[in-house]
Symmetry: C2
Subunit: 129 residues, 2 copies
């Protein structure tokens, strides 16, 4: 929150995102936030999510085709996209640093970072089977 202005709407966006463990889309946040702030605009949600993501305060999760999801947990973790419930779930595991160096041994460019998404079945769907 370094040097970022505060507004009721901006604070509410971050607050709502921090309070949930799922990874809502802008539209899902919109539905939740209009309970508190009835006339909040969807554009305001998008604007603030973009700003917070640019500042590194939240994460923007891009999962193919569908709307972006957002995550207030910026500490190291990975995500799994469950093919049953179609949700993004957290996988807490240390960063796989060797991926970058491994790629570098096969490539003459500069590998700076990577993004990994796992696919399969989440804990919930698996245990409720």
């Amino acid at each position: 929150m370094a040097g970022i202005r505060h507004s009721r709407q901006r604070d509410a966006v971050l607050d709502e995102l921090c309070s949930r463990s799922d990874h809502p889309t802008a539209d899902e946040l919109f539905l939740a936030l209009r309970e508190r702030i009835p006339n909040i605009s969807l554009a305001t949600i998008y604007r603030n999510l973009a700003l917070l993501a640019d500042e590194g305060i939240i994460l923007r999760l891009n999962c193919d085709g569908v709307a972006d999801h957002f995550d207030a947990t910026t500490s190291q973790h990975y995500h799994l996209f469950c093919k049953k419930c179609k949700k993004l779930c957290d996988i807490e595991m240390p960063e796989i640093d060797m991926l970058n160096s491994l790629a570098n041994t096969h490539y003459d460019g500069i590998i700076e970072s990577h993004s990994v998404t796992f696919f399969g079945i989440c804990e919930n769907c698996h245990s409720n089977k």
Copy 2:
């Protein structure tokens, strides 16, 4: 091409994609293909790319926010998104099988596959520095 019908347009889409080493978007293919087939429709490109991807004949590459890219090389390789030229480049390296098993040791669901994208600077941009 098991059991798939052929048409001038469909063959041309696959042909064009196979002939290039970049990873064009539907629109980029559209621009190239209308040289050969002046009245080809953008919808036809999209329709055939979707079909070919569903059949596993080509790959759909989803890179955040922007239009999907397509790749006729389905053999194992990874991609790097170059922050200088903003292009997707191939990284030829064997599949990192241990990623799935590593994730499984940290997670109680079922990890079936993963997708990795690297970020950095491609060979071209790096050597032309």
